[in-house]
């Protein structure tokens, strides 16, 4: 299998779907002539032409609303947000129109819309460019939210998202775009709502999504090496639908759970998962479910501080050892 980047995997997934289905188009700022702000769409203008790869003005509410209207008519638009932070200027279109029209029409309409772009901190772009709104969006019934953590998932999930007949929002990560791995050239899809166990373990469960999966795996290595703790790492992949089964099974198996995410803590995805585990695995837990989220302030610019603010192995490790004491020492 060819080794390609996360960025290329996204592009491949979209290109395959665009070849399959002429109703798929891409709209966004700088997606065409500029080749994409993060080069995800590089080369696609050449292949698919300006009718399908559409450079927009800086009018997120406008072009996403336009995409919703077009989606109602059977098109399958993919909107690129340069950052998910900019979803806030289009929030009404994104959560109200996209999520509610099907319901308010009694099911007469459906909206096969994909919105994608990066949602992460860690590169010093500051408080206005570092939002991770997966919790805000997954709050709305009618929407689906996925956060691929690696290249092969990126391809499989974006293809599913494009074929899905409901709005699916994909949160990527600028720090993952360059990460490489083997990605099949086959026409494969990954179901939404299916988590992946990235590492098996019996002592402790870490639940994570997106970049936090990587940080959690690094931590799991340390936990094994330095503390004799065997950690199971669950990559959610999809926030809504959510693979509650896998989560709860792992929680019951290990009895100890840490949730890692870049979300701000108050009503973050971790809060929802913690609630469900405490409910569904009540009596099975040997320690309270703990979270490692972004430290609860707006994203700080300063590099070394931002690195502390986001969940990294040192903070994750500390919390894991609270939940599951070291077996060595």
């Amino acid at each position: 299998m060819p080794v390609i980047t996360y960025r290329e995997a996204l592009r491949l997934g979209m290109s395959e779907e665009m070849r399959r289905d002429p109703n798929v188009i891409i709209l966004g700022e700088e997606v065409g002539q500029f080749k994409g702000s993060y080069k995800v769409t590089q080369g696609m203008l050449e292949e698919f032409g300006p009718k399908r790869i559409i450079d927009t003005p800086i009018s997120e509410a406008g072009f996403i609303g336009l995409a919703i209207g077009a989606a109602q008519m059977g098109m399958r638009p993919i909107c690129e947000l340069m950052f998910w932070s900019f979803s806030y200027v289009a929030f009404d279109q994104i959560v109200n129109n996209a999520a509610n029209i099907r319901y308010m029409s009694g099911g007469l309409i459906n909206i096969p819309l994909v919105i994608r772009g990066p949602a992460n901190g860690g590169t010093g772009v500051g408080a206005t460019h570092s939002h991770t709104p997966e919790n805000l969006l997954a709050n709305a019934p009618g929407l689906k939210v996925v956060c691929p953590s690696c290249a092969s998932d990126a391809k499989g999930l974006i293809k599913t998202a494009i074929r899905d007949n409901d709005p699916v929002y994909i949160m990527e990560n600028t720090l993952l775009y360059g990460e490489k791995e083997e990605v099949s050239s086959d026409d494969y899809t990954i179901p939404l709502g299916k988590a992946a166990i990235r590492r098996e373990g019996k002592d402790l469960t870490i639940i994570a999504h997106g970049m936090s999966v990587k940080q959690s795996l690094l931590t799991a290595d340390i936990l094994a090496k330095d503390h004799g703790i065997e950690t199971e790492v669950v990559d959610l992949r999809s926030i809504r639908p959510l693979d509650v089964d896998t989560i709860v099974k792992s929680a019951i198996k290990t009895g100890r759970v840490v949730i890692v995410e870049e979300n701000k803590p108050f009503c973050g995805v971790g809060a929802q998962i913690s609630h469900m585990i405490n409910d569904l695995a009540f009596g099975w837990l040997d320690a309270p479910v703990k979270r490692v989220s972004a430290i609860d302030s707006p994203a700080i610019y300063s590099g070394p501080l931002e690195s502390i603010q986001l969940p990294k192995p040192d903070r994750i490790l500390k919390t894991c050892l609270q939940v599951c004491p070291s077996k060595k020492k």
């Binding site: 609303g65 209207g69 459906n110 009618g142 990954i190 809504r240």
Partner: protein, 369 residues
């Protein structure tokens, strides 16, 4: 753009003399058959009787939430939608009963929707503000002011993308022109030659705010189009023939040049913003009364059709009674219909959940407790 003489540029509700024969001889109107003319009149009457009847039910406590009546504005929806062809679409805001009925929706499903019944056009899930009929190319019914305007452009975009000669009429109120997304989509519509026709139904008030208290603009609101290099026009919405003439030109521009237009159609609502609006702070009873008596769209068109011997007074009364009966029957229908079953609360949220099959690639939990 040409501006017609009947147009009011003072941007106060204006009672200058109107000519009910205006545009009667415009080609688009001259070409109508007798049945087509009667159709226009009948639709205006049906809308009015439907709404009057719904108001009665609302006051009687049978309808919940908001009820925004279109009474007084009927010529706008009726005139504009009457010039559309099979690839043309419409979308509007929450004052949507007129557009829905004129698009071909039935009184029964519309009234049942107001009653929140399972037989309603949206199964009782949408209510007054959210009527939809995609099969009639009618895309709602939208509650967030201005929120439907990018959708309208998107519909027209799809029509063009799919290689059809069509357009989308996208209606909004005078108060909606100051919502950001409308501005964004005006720019895009012009930039990309999208065959969308934005129709500002200027009834001179957004709730209790007169247009001059909410908007800074040159002579007319529609002139803002010039900032986007977009064609625009203004017409009088009390005269259905004038609406038809004006909209038909814009539709031609959309069909033949794939160009957008911003239209302003000046009109007036007789009722409060919604049925619950006390309507006593921003205009006088006399103002309403004068509009009702001097420029009612039904009266004006009836006068024309009587003069032209298209209809007799007796025939009109039969038509009117039929509309009343139809509205009354729709209330019966609504009242006798069941409420949606409890399990329907979680239906129509996701297409993929409503249509689970072997191809469904969604797993896990999608509804939470």
């Amino acid at each position: 753009m040409s501006k017609k003489k009947t147009i009011n540029e003072s941007n106060k509700p204006c009672l200058a003399e109107l000519d009910h024969r205006a545009c009667a001889d415009a080609p688009v109107n001259k070409a109508m058959t007798k049945e087509q003319k009667l159709h226009l009149l009948r639709q205006m009457v049906r809308i009015r009787r439907f709404e009057e009847r719904s108001q009665k039910s609302y006051v009687g406590g049978n309808i919940k939430g908001f009820l925004h009546l279109y009474i007084g504005q009927e010529a706008v929806a009726v005139g504009s939608i009457s010039v559309l062809g099979e690839n043309d679409h419409t979308i509007t805001a929450y004052r949507d009963h007129g557009h829905a009925l004129m698009s071909g929706m039935g009184m029964n499903e519309c009234m049942a929707e107001l009653y929140g019944k399972w037989t309603g056009c949206s199964k009782g899930k949408g209510g007054s503000m959210h009527y939809f009929a995609p099969d009639k190319r009618y895309w709602g019914g939208h509650g967030i002011v201005g929120g439907q305007t990018p959708l309208g452009a998107g519909i027209a975009f799809a029509v063009k993308y799919q290689g059809k000669k069509g357009c989308c009429l996208c209606y909004m109120g005078d108060g909606a022109v100051n919502q950001g997304p409308f501005h964004e989509i005006l720019n895009m519509a012009s930039l990309w030659d999208i065959p969308v026709i934005f129709i500002i139904e200027n009834n001179f008030y957004s709730m209790g705010t007169s247009v001059t208290r909410s908007s800074a603009f040159p002579e007319v609101l529609a002139k803002r189009a010039e900032g986007y290099n977009m064609a625009w026009d203004v017409c009088n919405g009390h005269i259905v023939n004038e609406v038809r003439d004006c909209v038909e030109k814009a539709v031609k521009r959309a069909h033949e040049e794939s160009k957008p237009t911003l239209l302003e159609i000046q009109t007036y609502r007789y009722r409060g913003h919604s049925v619950a609006d006390p309507d006593d702070t921003y205009r006088t009873k006399e103002e309403i009364e004068k509009f009702r008596t001097s420029r009612d769209p039904i009266t004006l068109y009836l006068k024309l059709l009587l003069e032209d011997n298209v209809i007799t007074q007796a025939e009109y009364e039969t038509m009117d009674q039929a509309a009343k009966d139809e509205a009354e029957a729709s209330v019966q229908f609504a009242e006798q219909s069941p409420y949606p079953p409890e399990e329907s609360i979680l239906q129509d949220v996701y297409w993929e959940e409503d249509n689970r099959n072997e191809k469904t690639t969604s797993q896990g939990v999608i509804f939470f407790e």
